[in-house]
Amino acid sequence: MMSGSVVDNTVSSGNSSAAIPTDISGQILDLDEDDDLEVFSKDTTLTDGSSFNASMQTSPASMINQYKFEEDADTKDIFVTVDNPESHVTAIETYITYRVMTKTTRSEFDSSEFEVRRRYQDFLWLKGRLEEAHPTLIAHPLPEKFVVKGMVERFNEDFIETRRRALHRFLNKIAEHPIFSSSEDFKIFLTAASGELTSHKKQGPGFLSRMGDTVKAVAAAVRGVRNRPQEFTEMQEYVEAFSQKISSLDKVTQRIVREQKEYLEELKECGPTYALWSQSEEELAEPLKNVAGCVDRCCKETEEQVKNLSDHLIPVLHEYVLCADTLKAVLRRRDNIQADFEAKTEALATKKADRDTMRNDLDKAEDRLEWANNALKSDWTRWQKVMRTDLRSAFVDTAERNVSYYEKCLAVWESFLHSQRTDAEGNGKVDFS
């Protein structure tokens, strides 16, 4: 009997998203991993992947225990790139596709190289499928549908490039995720021809069964979870705070970019003013022209520095803002799974009829909850490490770029000084000793 606990699967907050797929995790588990589920012992507490049950080598649950956190490049066996955006015009719409190239040595792939074209919708579909299958695993966010602030066209070059980079990161994060990367949907996404993908997308639970699940889900959600374990409450508090901090950092960085752009506007007028002055002078003409050149060069460096911030730091910060939203959604889904379990527990205690069926449902719900909790706990640890690595390297990168910017400007002005000093000594004018 398929019981459904429907989970809120919105892809990203703040935008109207595509159809919300219902949680069919119960069905998938029953279909594929029924055997493994029975083996799955309720006594095993899987925290940060340190405990390992040998009998569960092949179950997805055990895979959570097994993976290493620090993966060497040597052990990476799949490489995915997203590039080459192209626009397509049909009678109905215009849209962009991206080339997705895969190189892999994994045996489950028929070949070692694949090249397909995918559009944003396809990525959305993939994410939805992954979240359906694993409601309490943490998927990397997709770039947003459209930029809310500012009049950015969908087909603006910068927007497309930013989106392309984000899609590239998304696929790579999926490929690096121990569970997601072995998803059948992921494989199909990477390898299927467009027609194949379209027909595969059409499969899945029927509309009616989804409706039935939705009603039950709403009931569960309204009821709310009663006894949330402390660690998940702590997680929620952390996510709240993290969300605030990372949003602030995003805003601060955007403000810095704005201020630097305005500084650049003013600085751009300095060089020409020195050049204008040099035209009225004789002796001073050369040093003034020189200074004008220096200021202009510094302008170019500043311009590049601004671009660096926009291209490298801001997208990463922005992604982690979206991550925070994903985390909130994951915690909500976990809560709902628990709420469903609690509801079924209560039902069993109070109702007299259908006890066997209800007992069965309750057992399944309990398993689902335990599975969900353990999955979340492991993936939480993994996510924290990834977050730490990503943000650390983004900030280190920013610091390095700032150093490089100042070093370049320093060289510009030192060359000016050098020219003035050699000049002066050549003319025997000024003694710099």
């Binding site: 950092l249 150093v403 100042y406 070093e407 320093l410 000084l417």
Partner: protein
Amino acid sequence: MADSGSEDIAVIGNTDLTPLESENNLKNTMVEKGTSLLKKMEISVAEAEKRTGKNAVNMQETYTVYLIETRPVDAASEGTNPVLDSLWKRYSEFELLRNYLLVTYPFAVVPPLPEKRAEFVWHKLSADNMDPDFVERRRVGLENFLLRVASHPVLSSDKIFYLFLTEENGWKETVFETGFQAKADSRLKALNATFRVKNPDKRFAEMKHYGDELQSVISQLLRVRARAADRLYGVYKVHGNYGRVFSEWSAIEKEMGDGLQSAGHHMDAYAASVDDILEEEEHYADQLKEYLFYADALRTVCRKHELTQYELEMAVQDLTSKKQQREELATGTIRTFSLKGMTSKLFGQETPEQREAKLKMLETQIEEGEEQVKERNAECDEFVKSAWVDIERFKEQKDHDLRESLISYAIMQISMCKKGIQVWNNAKECFNKM
């Protein structure tokens, strides 16, 4: 500077001249090329103080006085602690001194005073005359003014200037007793009137044009620089927010906490560093401003020359017309139109006695006129000679000083870059510990 002898010139030493040092460079140059006055005494404007008192209309006012200290040079070099002559003067007294010098030495490019009110300010800088930073920069400007005058080959030997440095009370009266005020008023009137010179001196016309251009371009530069400074301030200060957020974020993280916290401190330091950077740049702006005002002094000299030339031309014109009148009277021909001439034609000629009297008067006038032309010619020549000497001196001074200013600007930029490199390298180390 030791002669390395090789073709490759190593970048020489110290790129960290502070504004104090670059100002000392300027002073040393003035003293080296020294006048007899500077060889005798050291001059400085050591302090500034606020005073209150009653003004001319018997109202309470607050004003600033500046302490002028002079010290005999010999005593200082002997290492003994010399007795300082010191007196307090207000800005208005400096203005009085300058006006006196302008009138008394019209051919000289008189050094300018620091600005009366703060202009070309960027918003963080106070435009308030009572603001201590403004007063301090003005103190420096006044000292610079005195040193400039003291190193001027002509102005430095002026008695009134000497008294300014040595007499506190009664100096004002002494100045007014010279009667320069009357001359000043008439000069001012004449200069403000519109007049056209028939044969303008090409060199002076070019100089005046240069003065115009210099004034215009330096104004533009100061404006642009002030706006850029404003913006740069914003960029640095926003980084302070990183400090705050990193600190808050570090509170919820375990392994990342320490790295974030210390990185945050460096961001705070970065944000704070802009204050010193922009203060140093103000010194550079002040150096530019001095030459902005010097441009005006240069134009004034050119204008005075025009006036002198004009007055000469007027005198010549007057003489020529008088001579013509005499000729007509003597030969009886009327070439020039005069009402008297017409009426006498209509109503009859004058008597021989009347003509005699008239001729005699004209002769006297012509004599006087020739004297005047001679005088004015001499004046003009004298003016042109002295003015051109001073203009050449000024040109050399300007080229040297402004080049030094540009160099000190480059040094400032280098210092700013070095600070930036240090802060971000420190931040990077902290980020690596995240």
